[in-house]
Symmetry: D2
Subunit: 396 residues, 4 copies
């Protein structure tokens, strides 16, 4: 008798193939679910593999358009960046994938969902908080946190043996000492403490091998999201943005939600260009003080998304506020991309308060420089009083 | 009879030379004060010029060491960056210059200080708030805000005529349509809305003309400030950090304190490298939650410094707190610099909580993955309750 | 020939009566404008007085409904409180008054507006920023900042003499050594450093003389604003909320925008009750994390409104976000009011995530206490690592 | 053979007495530890009770002085208040108690600590995070989260039966339907949704039964902490601050760290008076902008302490920063306490920038009101530009 039905987030690789078979072994009916978010994968082959391993059903879902529209654009609007460096390419993919997974689970009457994320990472949290938020009564099977599983599969060797025993196709090449996650926005590698080989990257060229002339792009924004340009069309069409320059590579140690520091290598060419271009257009068109408040909300957004709270009341609230702030973020940014560098050449907008005449040193216009004296003196009232009390002493 | 003595921040250029003579004409005794903060200048020539124009005294002050120690390092510790882009190279120079200026004014018994900053900019505010904070009873003469002055000198032509009439040496080359500010950390140009000529830059090479092999540097931090390395030694020695790569160039529209958006071009090679290296070391060594709070303080710091409040009770408070946060920011960062790009190669520290074993996917150690299930479930309590109330609907 | 037309914010008192006449004397046509925001005033008498003093036109405008709807409710939603104490009763009245003033100025083709606020206070800023924001080309006449005016009227004696000379009715009673501002929400007195006389208050009774039995009220909120209840109906009807208890009196030193500390006495009975009741309902119905973010926005709102930026892009943005946060702030709060104290008795809401069963110590339900162990252990990961590095020492 | 030694946080009540015996039954050696933080308890009797139940050792520790010095004062300095209402009386007691508990555990070579906190509350987290932070290798036994325990003791009846069976003295009175936590600062009750009986309170009188004349106190601060005054001396002497007025009672629904909303009744007379007095002195003496930053840090502090992170790097950092901000918070506040209300009568300080002459409407002094015109006009630059773009429309 079946223990019930489980919808497994299936990647086609060794780990989730073993999990598929192991779950069946444990008595579950397994529905394999494979999300296409722009990663480089033979989806037909993966479907056949899952079927051959005994999946009751296989869903291969094309989520590229919704990934771009509902996850990438809001992140671009937020200038989302975790700890000032990481553009959240994996973090925003997880709720997109998990949302469809629980939708399938509800449709198919499955009480369980499963995933192959490890027990020390962020992805387990992002998957599961999404599942609980959208399907509160769901039961989650995370084999890498189930002692029967993780005690049985202590290393790659154990997975290989199990695969061989159960007719799971075994990859010919020995596994690299890192894990990888890819989608149309970025690729992430989790490594130990060694320098990554320079041929690890897939979406970008090594800066040193890049063309020596820059690519010049023009990016157009409407309400803070991408309107047109080759870059956007490719993304919206689900084509991973690969660039012939080494743009968007970072090697960082970051702080996981779980409380550990870990090292990651990221490659986010399109996201990096969009980040810089959007930042430029935002400051060009947005009031200074609105932007100060929005900057804080963007930091909130980044932390929430990194920690897995995309589907939470607070993240929903923050997304609403940020979208409101973007109403006038409209215009075109010219960008030069060379080797690893993104350089903004210029910008134009029908909605910018930038006023060349007002700011000109040669035109006085409506502006009376004497007002600045009053402005400064009033700002100094408080400082003078402080001096009076503290008797500020010189230190030079 | 003299109206009193004024200490003028003198640059040696046409504007402040005219101001020097004009102030004398108005009946002031003028002390010329020229600060060396690493800009490219013939200080002896400037001294002689001031003397020949009738300055009662001339002070040429070498502030390079204190600029590095007291202004650049605290900014590096703060990861100071205004509106996510500008590294504040001019903003931090102003209080450094003005502090010495009021010190001289006090020593010389001068009731007045003067400067040549314009009436629409930030620099007037930075100069004057420093003066008022450190010498509350000082009187400030800002000719570009005095109608008798600015109505007389409506354009460069008027300055040239005045110079010729009063024996002020006139520059041979026609003035470029931008103003420039330089110190050992950076150069700023204020431009209108056109693309800058590619030969405007002084501290960096055009990325396209840069060497095609990267420079690899190692930067060592102690308490968040620079300890050694060629880069630091040069800076501390007052040598402007010029790099053979196009690192640290930006073209931005920024929001002035005065409420206008203005366009600036900056070139900050050393500061850009230090920014990235310090950020890397900080996140590597600092607790995640301390860093979140410190990040907010760093934003405060950046806004305060940009707006001219270096000498204010709140900026003093923030600097104290940030310095406290840096106690363990110690170690070495390896950096690759190529064309316009800074790429972090790796880092090491005796004080990092980074724990390769703890984070390893292969070593379980003290960490029990089942704990993560509880962690996630408790974090989901609130989300489930929200779902119960809102009846979260699917949108795909 | 007339210098032009000025719309004067007229209160009916000695100061603005003198200003009215003085402005005429200076050659302006004066339109007197008197706003009814619930203060205790004989508006007919004031109209006649203005007419008799030579006002070209007199507008007496009843702004009570819009003051409640557009200014008090958003402030209640924001839990607006400046420096943790002041409920902003005067701050929110100023933009309400000034908005109508510039509307009249535009309608009447007046290029000028004038007010009687002093040159050291906040009100001048609140008036004028509203005017500039809504009518950018307006010219503002602030006599207390015009040397010809303030040098002529150095004290009350000068105003009295001027009044007598120009047939302005002179108040019989000697002026109290404080200024007062009243509306249906509150009264403010600006005092020096002495204790105020206990009979200064108008809207509340001295606590010691209050009834010894509490008043019990029920307040109903819908989207964070008041729905019904006697309290709200009275306010919406423009009746100042006076309570027979000493609720809402405070004696504070506050920080003005202009950089000074000043002492004020406030009396805000209804606002104080609403503040506590709304806070209770908000935390009862709102998600914890949404509320954390909204709390920060409420602090932003309070500072902006205090400083006069009601009509600014950032305050508009913040009001939008706060209103969004209030969508589920719905229900009834029972309040006991006694002497100076407001005590919340209880609350009920159709939209609260409060779940008596979930929180019960006796019912386990869906909640597994073992999950808390994991939650705590994962939260401790970071702390243990810190201990490892710091060697946390005991201090007891 | 013993499973090891456990230090149990023992209260003397029914629950922890049963836990003591149950732990022995499970094979542990039990050291009973009872902290005196000012609660109303017969410590000698409790000691004897623990000995009679088989505790290997009993520690009764007087922590009152360190509770006041190291936990109450920093909280007063922070103006610590959770969700704008709760003064954290229980939250700050937990790390104080747990710190001594792990100190004893280390001294006695115990690998285990235990407590009687329930599995849905905050206290378990506060206890355990402190233990893990200060004694990372400790093992924690939380019986209310151990299935063998909580399945055996499903209600009070089971505890009573167990007590009778094992010679544990059984309380004569039936247990009230709430739990209580007391220390010298406050008492907390956790209730369901009914109104609490009016005789539940211990530290305060019902407002209606309070004296009808106010108590007038003077409170003196030095560096933001209490210097002298009867109130402080009593607290420092470990005497719970009871007042003959109903000050400091609140009935709230609050958000637990665990994600639930729960109802609590608190009684914090001394803490409430100190909160208001300190807030008054802080704003009186502190620079406005320092206080704005410090206010944010105080909110951080409150959330951290509420959630159990007293001993964390970030809370340590925040405490350091807040202490720095308090250097000039010095002076005396006069307070009137009546019924449930605290009213500030006045304040004086040798270190306040309050400047009666500067703020006076009658004295002009150094202040030039014309400067305010410039100040306002420059602040309006941005608003006018916004208007130009948005074409702000009138809505009245």
């Amino acid at each position: 008798m079946s223990k019930g039905t489980v919808v497994l987030a299936y990647s086609g690789g060794l780990d989730t193939s073993c999990i598929l078979v192991w779950l069946k072994e444990q008595g579950y009916d397994v529905i394999a679910y494979l999300a296409n978010i722009g990663q480089d994968e033979d989806f037909d082959a993966a479907r056949k593999k899952a079927e051959s391993l005994g999946a009751k059903k296989v869903f291969v879902e094309d989520l590229r358009a919704e990934f771009v529209e509902e996850f990438i654009w809001p992140s671009v609007q937020a200038n989302a960046i975790y700890e000032d460096r990481y553009l959240l390419g994996t973090s925003i993919a997880r709720p997109c994938i998990a949302r469809r997974q629980v939708l399938i689970a509800r449709q198919e009457g499955a009480q369980y969902v499963a995933h192959g994320a490890t027990g020390k990472g962020n992805d387990q949290i992002r998957f599961e908080l999404t599942c609980y938020a959208l399907y509160p009564s769901v039961q989650i099977l995370a084999p890498w946190r189930i002692p029967e599983f993780y005690n049985r599969f202590k290393g790659r060797k154990d997975l290989m043996d199990y695969a061989q025993k159960h007719g799971i196709p075994v990859p010919a090449t020995p596994k690299a000492p890192w894990s990888m996650d890819a989608n149309l926005m970025h690729i992430r590698w989790v490594l130990g403490h060694n320098h990554p080989p320079s041929d690890i990257f897939c979406m970008t060229k090594n800066p040193e091998d890049s063309p020596s002339a820059p690519d010049v792009l023009e990016i157009e924004f409407s309400k803070g999201a991408g309107l047109s340009s080759a870059l956007f069309r490719r993304a919206a069409g689900g084509v991973a943005i690969k660039v012939p320059h080494g743009v968007g590579r970072i090697d960082i140690v970051e702080n996981r939600f779980i409380g550990m520091k870990c090292r990651g290598i990221y490659e986010t060419p399109g996201g990096t260009i969009l980040y810089h271009a959007h930042l430029d257009m935002e400051i060009f068109t947005m009031d200074r003080e609105v932007r100060r408040i929005k900057q804080g909300l963007g930091i909130n957004f980044s932390e929430l998304v990194y920690n897995g709270f995309w589907y939470s009341p607070e993240c929903e609230f923050v997304r609403h506020c940020i979208a409101k702030s973007q109403e006038n973020v409209e215009g075109k940014v010219q960008v030069s991309v060379l080797k690893g560098h993104v350089y903004i050449l210029g910008r134009e907008s029908p909605k910018s308060p930038y006023n060349e005449e007002l700011v000109s040193m040669d035109v006085q216009g409506d502006y009376n420089p004497c007002d600045a004296s009053g402005f400064i003196k009033i700002n100094a009232v408080r400082l003078k009083e402080y001096n009076r009390l503290q008797n500020y002493s010189f230190r030079s």
